[in-house]
C-alpha cells in the first residue's frame, strides 16, 4: 500500500535507523482542511509517508437534484452552491452549457456583464484563497486585509442582484437584473482602489522571507504530472503550462479583450511549487482588473434578456461547455431528452480533480508542508463533494 519510491523519508536516508510509522487522522474537523476533507496520513515522526484523502462529507447530490428540476432555469441556484466562494463562475459555466444546448445567442450587453461579474468573482475567490493560505502558513493579518477588500466586491454584487454569496444572477439567455444606475462608476472606483492593495499584500505576505521559506520548493508539481492528473487553473499554470480556457477555448466575449495568462516561473524556488501557485493567483487578480476595466469601457447598451419561449424545451440532444472558473476548468455536460427538465447533468469540478494530485506531491513532506500544499491547491469542499 505505502509507496515511498518518490522521496524517501529523511529518517531512513543514509542511516539504518528504523522508526515506526503512525497513522494520523487529519480532519474532517481540522482547521486547515478547508472544509470537511479527511486526510488519512501515514507519518514517520513529522514526515508524511502517505496521504489518503477521504471525501464525501459534504455530498449533497447536486447531479440528482438537477434531474428532478422541472426546468433548466431551476438548476442555477443549485449550481451556486457547488463552489460557494465563486458562485458567479459556476453559474457562468452552467448557462454557457445550457445556451449551447439550446443554441441561443445572448445580447452583447449580457456577455460583457457576465465577464465583469465572473472576473470580480475571480478576484474575490483568489482573495479567499490567498487569505486562507496565509492563515495556513501562520500569518493572520493578510487574511483580514483581503476580506476587507472582498467586502467591496460583495457590495457590488449585492447592488446588482441582491445577494452577497449565492447570486442566482446569470439566467439562461440573460441575467436576472440589469445593472443599477451608477454601478459602472462604482466598479471603476473599485478597480482603482484594489491596485495599491495588491502591492501592499505582496509586501506583507507574498515576498515575506518566512513565507518564501515556507512555500518555495515545497510541494513541487512538475509539468507532466500536472497534465497527467488533469489539473487545471492556477494549479496547472503554476507548473509552467500556458493554458487558459478564456484564451485557448474562448467563450462569451473573452476573445475581444486583452490580458496575459499568468504562468509560474519558479521565481522563489522551483517551477510548480506552492509559492508559484500563490503568485499566479496574485497576478491573476491584477489581470482580472485589466479585463474588468476593458469590459466596463466596452459595455454596450441594450437588453439583458434574450427572447426565449416561456417554457424552455430543448430538442433531444447533448452539450458540453467548459469555462475557466477561478479554480480551473469547470465544465457542464447536459443531456436533454426533449422534455422541460434535464435528463442528466454532469459537472466536472476543478477542485475535485486538483485534489487528486495531493498524494503525489505530498509524499516525503513534513506535516507543516502538507498544510501548505493543501492550502495551495485551493480546494472548496462544496465542489469536491457536490
Amino acid at each position: 500500500m505505502i509507496e515511498t519510491h518518490h522521496s524517501q523519508p529523511a529518517t531512513s536516508r543514509g542511516t539504518t535507523l528504523r522508526t515506526e510509522e503512525m497513522i494520523l487522522n487529519m480532519g474532517p474537523q481540522h482547521p486547515s482542511t478547508h472544509g470537511v476533507l479527511r486526510l488519512e496520513l501515514v507519518v514517520d515522526g513529522e514526515i508524511v509517508v502517505d496521504v489518503i484523502p477521504h471525501l464525501g462529507y459534504l455530498h449533497r447530490c447536486f447531479e440528482k437534484h438537477a434531474e428532478q428540476m422541472s426546468n433548466y432555469q431551476q438548476v442555477v441556484p443549485y449550481v451556486d452552491r457547488m463552489d460557494y466562494v465563486s458562485s458567479m463562475g459556476n453559474e457562468f459555466a452552467y448557462v454557457v452549457a445550457a445556451e449551447k444546448l439550446l443554441k441561443i445567442q445572448v445580447p452583447e450587453r449580457v456577455d460583457y456583464i457576465r465577464v465583469i461579474m465572473a472576473e470580480l468573482q475571480r478576484i474575490a475567490s483568489h482573495q479567499i484563497a490567498i487569505g486562507t493560505y496565509g492563515i495556513d502558513i501562520g500569518a493572520f493579518t493578510p487574511f483580514l486585509f483581503l476580506f476587507r477588500d472582498r467586502e467591496r466586491i460583495l457590495d457590488l454584487f449585492e447592488e446588482a442582484c441582491g445577494a452577497r454569496l449565492l447570486y442566482n444572477y446569470f439566467w439562461i439567455g440573460g441575467l436576472s437584473h440589469d445593472l443599477p444606475p451608477g454601478w459602472v462608476e462604482k466598479a471603476k472606483a473599485f478597480c482603482a482602489y484594489l491596485k495599491p492593495n495588491i502591492v501592499e499584500l505582496n509586501g506583507l505576505l507574498t515576498y515575506n522571507k518566512i513565507f518564501i521559506e515556507r512555500t518555495a520548493n515545497v510541494g513541487v508539481l512538475p509539468k507532466d504530472v500536472a497534465i497527467n492528473y488533469a489539473c487545471s487553473g492556477p494549479m496547472l499554470r503554476a507548473s509552467g503550462v500556458n493554458w487558459d480556457l478564456r484564451r485557448d477555448d474562448p467563450y462569451s466575449v473573452y476573445d475581444k479583450i486583452e490580458w496575459d495568462v499568468c504562468v509560474g516561473r519558479g521565481e522563489a524556488g522551483t517551477v510548480g511549487d506552492c509559492w508559484d501557485r500563490n503568485i499566479v493567483r496574485v497576478h491573476e487578480m491584477e489581470q482580472s482588473l485589466r479585463i474588468i476595466e476593458q469590459a466596463l469601457a466596452m459595455l454596450p447598451e441594450g437588453n439583458v434578456q434574450a427572447a426565449l419561449p416561456k417554457r424552455i424545451m430543448p430538442v433531444a440532444s447533448e452539450a458540453y461547455a467548459r469555462t475557466e472558473a477561478p479554480r480551473g476548468e469547470l465544465g457542464f455536460y447536459i443531456i436533454s431528452d426533449g422534455t422541460g427538465s434535464p435528463y442528466r447533468i454532469k459537472a466536472r469540478g476543478p477542485s475535485f480533480v486538483n485534489l487528486s494530485v495531493i498524494t503525489e506531491i505530498s509524499r516525503g513532506a513534513m506535516i507543516a508542508d502538507l498544510v501548505a500544499i493543501l492550502g495551495s491547491t485551493d480546494i472548496v469542499l462544496g465542489e469536491v463533494d457536490r
Partner: protein, 348 residues
Amino acid sequence: MDQFLQSIFGDTILTHVFMSVLPLLFLLVCAVVTIYVEMKMAAHMQDRLAYMRTGWHGTLQPVADILKLLQKEDIIPASADKFLFMLAPYIVFVGTYAAFAVLPFSSSYIGSAVDLGLFYVIAVSALVVVGILMAGWASNNKWSLFGAIRSASQVISYEIPAALAVLAVVMITGTMSMNEITKFQEGGIQNWLIFGGPLPIVHKLLLIPVMIVLAVVYYVCSMAEVNRTPFDIPEAESELVQGYNTEFTGMKFAIFYLAEYANLFLVSAIAVVLFFGGWSSPFGSFMSGPWWSLFWFSLKGMLFVCLNIWLRWTLPRLRVDQLMYVSWKVLVPFALVCVVLVGAIMVM
C-alpha cells in the same frame, strides 16, 4: 518592602505570604491588560475595532472572558491519564510564576534577592517544558503529543543561545543577582547595558554593537520560549489544531492561557533587566524612587510585550526544521562569537 510589611504584621508568616502574593496580583492585572492590548493592537493592525460592547471600548471583555471560562464544563477525556492531565496546567503555571520570585519590580521590591537570580530563572522556567510534555502526553491525542514534542525540542534548543546572551551580561556585571545587574545600570539611559553599561568610553563603544546583537539574540529566543509567532509551532493552529492544550477546557485552559501571558511578561522583563536598565529611570535620578521604578519596569516590560504582539500579528510561522536551523546555525554561533568578544573587551 519587607521592612514595611514587617512593620504591619510583625515577623509572622503573613509577611511572607504577602511578599509572595504581590507578584501574583501584578501578574493577574498584567495578563488582563495584555490580553486587552493584544486584541486591540491586532484589531487595529487588521482594520478592525475588536470588541466594543462590553464596557467602554470593550475594556471589560477580558473579565467577561474569565467569567465565561470559569463557567465552562471541565472535561477530562475518557482515555486521558487523569492525574497528569489535572497536574499539567499547574506545573506550567508554577514554572512561570516561580521565576517571578527573583524579578526586581522596583528598587524596593524583589520577591527574593538571591545571588543566583538569573541562574534560578533559567533553571526554574525549564519546568514549563515538563508541564507541556505532561499535557501533551496525558491528553492521549496525537496532535497534542506532536505539539508537546515540538515544544520540548524548541524550548530546549532556544535556551542555549538565550543562556549564552545571559552569560555575556554576567561577564560584564560580574553578578547573577537581578537587583545588582539593575543597580549596575543606574544613572540614566547611557548606562544601560545595551549601550555598553557604565564603563570607560573605549569599552563602551566596542561593546555597543556586541550588546545589540546579544539583545536581538535574547529577544528572538524569548519569543521562541513563549511559543508565539513566528515560533508558535507547538500550538500551530493550522497544523496541530491547538497543540498541547487542545483537550483542555475551562479553568485548566485558562491557566495555560494565563501562563502564556505571564511567560510573555517574564521574558520581556528579563530582557529589560539584562539590557535596558531594569527599573532604573532613563533620566538618571530624575523620576526615580520606589514607585517610579515600578512604573519604569512595567512600562519597559510592556513595551517589549507590545513588540512581541506586533511581530506576532505580522509574520507567518516557521517550519520545525527551519526553527532548529535558526537556533543552532544562526543564533548559537552569533551568541558564541559575542560572548568571546565580550570576554576580550572586558579583559582589555
